[in-house]
Symmetry: C2
Subunit: 284 residues, 2 copies
């Protein structure tokens, strides 16, 4: 349970506009400006394992009682937070509406959807679409194998990029300098025996991914799960991402995965092309 919680400093402010780093998703910690503070608090309740009450939140911030209380009140007034009868805080439903719009308004997702659906039908396995967000991967969509559907976890979830198929594919799609810079800021964690935890190993892995346009996750994130992935890029901004076909290794051997390589690469290429068609013309 709760092992790491940061402590949200307060000496900040100063460089908000120019600020580049962003609190992707997994535990924000920053908190610049009034909005930032509010979002930090929101993140705190969002990513806590157990329900948090006022005192718990107080213990995790450096904020004084009065301030924290007002922040919570504001968040509640805005529908971003709710209070359970036992005074513990839950995320508010307004987030759902917002996210629903964010999700189905997302162009990358819209464009990729039919392609990954086809890929799912062709392989019969779970297909993911993720995009790189600073040093993490955020999953935007998935077509699940069986499972009576459900948004079920995953979508919206941020995962490390150095040990996932789409993560490595996306990193490989960046220019080497950019990738190296991001890698330098990563903190590696050995999720499984085969997780890549050295900068050098990762760099050379990216090199080989660049060479053949395909990346594999050889049970590097979850034991018993592996996948083939290929990079997708929206040439416009600098959004890069990837798609993957994931399967349990006991049922689908590496050979089969390799057999899908062409299909996956081709699908990724098609998505990238569709994206440039859709986003290119709209230039200014």
């Amino acid at each position: 349970m709760a092992a790491e919680q940061r402590s949200v400093h307060m000496d900040n402010h100063g460089a908000s506009m120019t600020d580049e780093r962003l609190a992707t998703n997994g535990h924000s910690t920053s908190g610049t400006g009034t909005l930032g503070k509010a979002m930090s608090v929101l993140d705190l309740v969002a990513f806590s394992e157990s329900p948090l009450r006022f005192k718990d939140l107080l213990a995790q911030t450096t904020q004084p009682r009065g301030t924290l209380h007002r922040q919570l009140s504001n968040l509640i007034d805005e529908g971003l937070l709710e209070v359970a009868p036992d005074h513990s805080y839950r995320l508010g439903l307004r987030l759902l509406g917002l996210a629903a719009r964010a999700w189905d308004g997302n162009e990358v997702r819209q464009v990729a959807a039919p392609h990954i659906q086809r890929l799912h039908e062709a392989t019969g396995e779970t297909v993911h679409l993720g995009i790189l967000r600073d040093i993490e991967v955020v999953y935007l969509d998935k077509f699940d194998a069986r499972q009576s559907v459900r948004m079920h976890s995953q979508i919206g979830k941020a995962s490390p990029s150095y040990c996932t198929g789409v993560g490595k594919a996306a990193l490989a799609a960046l220019d080497a300098a950019d990738a190296s810079e991001r890698i330098s800021r990563m903190r590696f964690h050995q999720h499984t025996p085969s997780t890549i935890i050295s900068v050098d190993a990762l760099e050379s892995e990216l090199e080989s991914i660049r060479a053949d346009g395909i990346s594999f996750d050889r049970e590097e994130h979850e034991p018993g799960i592996h996948c083939v992935a290929a990079p997708v890029s929206a040439h416009d901004g600098n959004t890069v991402g990837g798609i993957s076909v994931t399967a349990p290794s006991y049922r689908v051997p590496m050979e089969t995965l390799k057999g899908w390589s062409g299909l996956v690469a081709e699908t990724a290429r098609a998505i990238t092309e569709d994206l440039s068609l859709r986003m290119g013309p709209r230039r200014s």
Copy 2:
């Protein structure tokens, strides 16, 4: 210049926690406090039909250029907003992560899920779970009939309560005074020929719903779509909602819907009971 929506300062305070009104979802408009202003802007881009650029947003606010620009910058810094290369604003991905937590951490949804799945399997039609949020219904979950799944719209979406099955069921589950108060604040819109648009008609409809524990949407919201619904309530706070089985009327006649009444009511009752079991003990 400022028109309205300016001052508002601090005569609120006072009743913030207890505050009941809230900017559900469909266009907030309020904007109290710095956070409120920010969320108003966020809503603006969230619920706009077409991509909004800076000048478009400027036209829809009473805020001066500098202010609006800073607010947008802050939202971007927080990952709640993003800028497309053509300078139009899109919702940020951080919302997805937040919403994912809000969704699968939601107790009502967790408890109801197996029940509505069973209901879906029994009827073969689309089943919804929604909860009442002030005067609107927010859909929390759904089991879709066919349709290769996808979160596809709906979840997180706010709909009027006076013309939907779960909306009317939920209203009927409130005590009459509360319901009347909320009804008094509604603005009716004749979505279809059979939409109820008078307070009296709605009140008596609720009366009959209270009598037999079942509500119907007789194509009152979307032409050609009707449903059976029953109220679900979490006795704790004052959260009320409902579940429904929805189908196109050309394929499923009213008679069939009525035949499902018992099943729907029983499922709703079971959910309510499970909720009281799960939420009751945790009092303290």
